[in-house]
C-alpha cells in the first residue's frame, strides 16, 4: 500500500428504498468514527449528479483516497461510481461497493434495527476491505474485429447488418434451413399493415449481399471458449442434402410427407421442402429430423440422402444472442385446445388465413364460422395456484405484450375480409401500448366487437356444446364489469391469443454462461442502464431471446446490441477487469503448488530467475490466460499469491469486521 488510507464512506438513502428501513444517519455516524475514515456522509441519491459531485469534491478537497459506498446492488451502479472516482483523479479500483438495498433494506423491511445493525457491519466490512485496496490497471487485449450473431430472425438479421455497416465482420448462424425466423410466419404486421415476408425479404437481401457478413444456415453453435475479444466458436453445419442442380428434382420426387410446423401442423409438407415461396435460400432443404432414410427417385435412379455435417471453427470478439422465442402451445384441454376441433391459437389462425388468401368466407375444420370468441392472455399473466404449472414447474406470470394488439389487429383483418362476423373479445386488460396500436382497439369497438372483461383468477371456460346445438362450442365467462355476471357465448371458433415463451436453448445458455430471469428469458445486466448486455462480457442480447417484444422493439434491441458490439470491438482492443492472480515474489519459494492447482493453460508457470546470484524458481502469471478463480490462492503454503482486488487478507479483514459486536463498533465512536 503506497499511502495512508483516507477513506470516504457514503450511505445512500436510495430515495427512501434504503432509508425507510435502515437508519442511515446512525450508520453514517458509526462509520465516521472508524479508523482511517475521514468523511462519512449520507445522500438521498448518490447516483445523481449531485451525489456523484459530492464524492468527487471530497476526493479533491479532503484527499479521500479510498471510497466505500453503501447503496443498491453493485451490479447496477458499480460502473457509475468507478467513473465517479476516476473523474476525481482516483484509480477506479480504490472504491468498494456495499449492497444495502437488495441484500438489506428490501429483505428486512420488518426489522429496522436488524437491518441497521447489518448495514453497520457490512459497511464496516467495506471499510476494512478498503484499507487493503491497491490501485489496479485493467488488462488490455487485442480484440478480434468480428462478431458472431446467433439467430437468423429479424433481430439477428438487423443486428448483423448494423454491425457490418460499421465496418466489422459478422458471422450469422441460423439453426433452421431458412432465414427469417418467426416473423416469416406472419402475414400483415401492425402497425403499418405491411407484408411481413416482403419486409423480411428486403432485409435478408441486404444481409446476404453484404461483403462483411458470412451466413451459416442449418448451423449450430456446439462450443464456446475464451473471453471477450477472443471467443473461440465451434460450429456444426448440417448438410442441405440437395444441390442447386438436383434440389427441385429431388423435392418433386420426394413422397414422404410430414406435418408442416411452419403452418403449425395445419397442413403437410414434403420432407424435402421450402417453407414458403420467396424464402431464403430458395433451394429446398432436407428435414433431417423427420427424413425416414428411404430412397428418393431422381431421374429414374434411387437416391438415399445423408446429412454430411461439417464442423467449423472461428474466433470472434463478441457474441449477439438473437435466438428468439417459442410461441406458447396450450396444454391439451386448456380452453379445450387439442380436444375441441373448433379451438385454435391466434398463430394458427394467421397461418390458416395465409394459406387460404382467396377464401370468401371463414371456415375452420370445414365449418363456416359466424361467431368467434377471442381469448386474451393464454399462457401469459398466469397465477401460481390458479393456473396449471408449465413443464418446468413454473407459471408464465409475465405479460407477453404483443398479443393484445395482435388480437385486435386480427379482429380488424377478420372484419375486413369477412364482414358480418360476430366477434367477442375476452380480455383481462387491453394493453395496446405502442404508437398506432390503440387505433386497432378503436377499430374493433367501432366494428361492433363485444368486449368482455374477465379476472385472471377466474378464467373463461370452453366446453363442447350438446349435440344438435347451433354452435359446436360454448364459452362460459364471468363479466367482471357487470359484477361477475355469468355469460354463455356460443361460438363457431375460439381463438386463443397465446403468448411468447423462452426458447429451449439450455445448451447455449450453458456454453455462454448467461443468466436467465425469473421468467426464464435471458437476463440483461440492468433493464435501464445496461439493457442489452449480459453479465458475461461480450455477450449481448437482441430481440425476444430477452423477453416478449414486438417486431419494432426487436429491431430496436437488435440495433442497440449492434451498437454495443461496435463500441466494444471497434478499436480492436478490449479492457478486462484486472482481477487475476498476482504473485508476491518475496514470499514465493517456488513450490509449484499453484501451477499444479491451475486448470487454465498458460495462466501460471514456474520460471527460473536469478536472485542474489542464485537461481531460484518463482511462479509467474500470464494475466490474459488467468480466469481469476483463485485455485492457486488456497493451495499456496506461503500465501504468496492472491487474486488482485479479492485478496485473502481483504476477506479476513471483512470477516473480522462482521464478527465484531455492534457494541464494540459503537464504542469506537
Amino acid at each position: 500500500m503506497s499511502e495512508k488510507p483516507k477513506i470516504g464512506v457514503y450511505t445512500c438513502y436510495c430515495g427512501g428504498n434504503i432509508s425507510h428501513t435502515v437508519k442511515c444517519e446512525q450508520v453514517a455516524k458509526v462509520m465516521a468514527d472508524q479508523p482511517d475514515v475521514v468523511i462519512s456522509r449520507t445522500n438521498m441519491s448518490l447516483c445523481s449528479d449531485a451525489g456523484q459531485s459530492q464524492i468527487e469534491e471530497d476526493i479533491r478537497e479532503l484527499g479521500v483516497n479510498r471510497v466505500v459506498i453503501g447503496a443498491c446492488a453493485p451490479s447496477l451502479h458499480e460502473p457509475t461510481f468507478r467513473n465517479t472516482v476516476v473523474r476525481a483523479g482516483l484509480n477506479p479500483y480504490l472504491y468498494h461497493h456495499v449492497g444495502l438495498r437488495e441484500q438489506d433494506s428490501w429483505v428486512h423491511s420488518c426489522d429496522c434495527d436488524g437491518a441497521t445493525c447489518k448495514a453497520v457491519r457490512l459497511m464496516s466490512a467495506g471499510v476494512a476491505k478498503a484499507r487493503f485496496l491497491d490501485p489496479l490497471e485493467p488488462i488490455r487485449l487485442e480484440a478480434e474485429k468480428q462478431a458472431l450473431v446467433i439467430g437468423g430472425g429479424v433481430a439477428g438479421l438487423r443486428s448483423a447488418l448494423d454491425i457490418a455497416n460499421q465496418g466489422l465482420r459478422v458471422v450469422l448462424v441460423e439453426k433452421s434451413p431458412f432465414l427469417g425466423g418467426r416473423m416469416a410466419q406472419l402475414a400483415k404486421v401492425f402497425p403499418t399493415g405491411e407484408e411481413a415476408q416482403r419486409l423480411l425479404s428486403e432485409l435478408i437481401d441486404e444481409v446476404v449481399q453484404h461483403p462483411r457478413i458470412g451466413v451459416f444456415i442449418q448451423t449450430e453453435v456446439v462450443g464456446v471458449s475464451g473471453y471477450v475479444g477472443k471467443y473461440g466458436i465451434d460450429l456444426l453445419q448440417h448438410g442441405r442434402g440437395v444441390t442447386a442442380e438436383n434440389g427441385e428434382a429431388l423435392a418433386a420426387g420426394c413422397t414422404q410427407f410430414v406435418p408442416d410446423e411452419f403452418n403449425y401442423n395445419l397442413t403437410e409438407r414434403k420432407v424435402i421442402y421450402k417453407p414458403y415461396q420467396g424464402c431464403y435460400p430458395a433451394l429446398p432443404a432436407v428435414d433431417w429430423d423427420h427424413y425416414d432414410g428411404e430412397s428418393i427417385l431422381l431421374n429414374g435412379k434411387k437416391e438415399v440422402l445423408q446429412d454430411q455435417a461439417q464442423p467449423y471453427q472461428l474466433t470472434v470478439g463478441a457474441i449477439v444472442v438473437a435466438t428468439g422465442f417459442d410461441p406458447y402451445t396450450p396444454h391439451t384441454g386448456e380452453y379445450g385446445y387439442g380436444e375441441l376441433p373448433q379451438v385454435a391459437t391466434l398463430a394458427e389462425l394467421i397461418r390458416h388465413l395465409a394459406v387460404h388468401p382467396e377464401a370468401k368466407s371463414l371456415r375452420w375444420n370445414g365449418r363456416i364460422v359466424r361467431d368467434v370468441v377471442m381469448v386474451h392472455c393464454v399462457g401469459s399473466r398466469e397465477i401460481e395456484g390458479v393456473d396449471a404449472l408449465q413443464e418446468d414447474g413454473l407459471v408464465n406470470n409475465y405479460c407477453s405484450r404483443v398479443c393484445c394488439t395482435a388480437t385486435l389487429h386480427m379482429i380488424e383483418e377478420l372484419h375486413t375480409h369477412f364482414p358480418g362476423l360476430n366477434i367477442f373479445d375476452l380480455y383481462q386488460d387491453i394493453r395496446t401500448y405502442g404508437r398506432g396500436h390503440e387505433e386497432y382497439y378503436r377499430s374493433a369497438l367501432s366494428s361492433g366487437t363485444r368486449f368482455v372483461r374477465y379476472n385472471g383468477e377466474d378464467r373463461p371456460e370452453v366446453i363442447a356444446a350438446l349435440e344438435g346445438d347451433t354452435h359446436p362450442v360454448l364459452v362460459h365467462v364471468k363479466d367482471a364489469l357487470t359484477y361477475n355476471q355469468e355469460l354463455e357465448i356460443p361460438a363457431d371458433l375460439v381463438v386463443l391469443a397465446t403468448g411468447m415463451q423462452p426458447r429451449q436453448i439450455d445448451d447455449l445458455v450453458r456454453m455462454l454462461k448467461v443468466s436467465r430471469g425469473n421468467d426464464r428469458f435471458l437476463l440483461e445486466v440492468h433493464p435501464k442502464l445496461r439493457p442489452v448486455e449480459t453479465a458475461v462480457n461480450g455477450v449481448i442480447l437482441a430481440g425476444t431471446a430477452q423477453g416478449p417484444m414486438n417486431i419494432q422493439e426487436s429491431i430496436l434491441a437488435a440495433s442497440a446490441a449492434a451498437a454495443k458490439v461496435v463500441s466494444l470491438l471497434g478499436s480492436g482492443q478490449v479492457e478486462l477487469q484486472p482481477f487475476v492472480a498476482a504473485v508476491n515474489a518475496a514470499k514465493c519459494d517456488g513450490t509449484g503448488a499453484c501451477v499444479e492447482a491451475c486448470e487454465y493453460e498458460g495462466a501460471i508457470a514456474l520460471e527460473t530467475l536469478v536472485e542474489n546470484g542464485k537461481e531460484v524458481k518463482r511462479a509467474v502469471v500470464t494475466a490474459a490466460n488467468c480466469s481469476g478463480c483463485g485455485a492457486c490462492v488456497s493451495v499456496c503454503p506461503n500465501r504468496a499469491i492472491d487474486v488482485q482486488g479479492w485478496t485473502l487478507a481483504q476477506y479476513e479483514a471483512m470477516v473480522d469486521a462482521i464478527a465484531m459486536d455492534i457494541v464494540d463498533l459503537v464504542e469506537a465512536e
Binding site: Q26, K29, V30, P74, S75, G99, E102, Q103, D104, W106, V107, H108, S109, C110, D111, D113, G114, A115, C117, K118, V120, A125, A128, R510, K513, S515, G517, N518, L523, A535, V536, F579, A597, E599, Y600, S627, G628, C629, G630, A631, V633, S634, V643, W646, L648, Y651, E652, A653, M654, V655, D656, A657, I658, A659, M660, D661, I662, V663, V666, E669
Partner: protein, 151 residues
C-alpha cells in the same frame, strides 16, 4: 444507538459467487422476500480461493455459521465445483479436530434466479444456529477471546 446495542445474535456469513449466489441474493431482494437479518453476504469470484484455515479462522473470530453459495457445475470457472467440494471436505476434518459442529459450514449451489433455494438455505442455517447456539460454545476460550479485536 442503544437499540442497536441490544441485538445479540448469531452471525451467518454468506460467501456468494457473483455468477451464482450473490445474484440469487439480489433476485431475492428484488422479490422483497424477508429473511433473518443476521446474514452477511460477501461477494466472491470463486470460492475455491479459500483455504480450509480461512473457515476455521472465521469461526474462531465469532462467525457462527458459513454458507458457501456457489454456482456448482454451472460455474464459469472450471475448478469451482470439484475444487470447492474438496476444500470443504478438508475444512470439515479441521472442524472435527477442533470440536466445531460441521453443520456450521455448508456448501449450496445457488443460481442467479434461485430465490426459493436461497431462502431455504438461509432459513435452515438460521434454524440450525438457534438449536445449536453460538460457535463460542464449541471453541476454546482463548480462541474466542480474539473475536473482539480488529486487526
Amino acid at each position: 444507538m442503544t437499540d442497536l446495542m441490544q441485538k445479540p445474535e448469531t452471525k451467518i456469513l454468506i460467501l456468494a459467487t457473483l455468477a451464482g449466489g450473490y445474484a440469487g441474493a439480489d433476485a431475492t431482494g428484488q422479490s422483497h422476500l424477508d429473511y433473518p437479518s443476521n446474514t452477511y453476504i460477501l461477494p466472491v469470484m470463486c470460492p475455491v480461493m479459500f483455504p480450509p484455515e480461512f473457515f476455521i479462522r472465521s469461526f474462531e473470530r465469532g462467525i457462527d455459521g458459513i454458507l458457501l453459495m456457489y454456482s456448482g457445475t454451472d460455474s464459469p470457472y472450471k475448478v469451482e465445483a470439484a475444487g470447492t467440494a474438496k476444500l470443504i471436505n478438508q475444512s470439515y476434518e479441521l472442524m472435527k479436530e477442533r470440536g466445531i459442529d460441521i453443520r456450521r459450514l455448508r456448501l449450496a449451489a445457488i443460481c442467479t434466479v434461485c430465490v426459493k433455494p436461497f431462502l431455504k438455505e438461509v432459513n435452515n442455517m438460521h434454524t440450525l444456529l438457534k438449536g445449536i447456539g453460538p460457535v463460542s460454545a464449541e471453541i476454546k476460550p482463548q480462541q474466542a477471546e480474539a473475536q473482539r479485536t480488529l486487526p
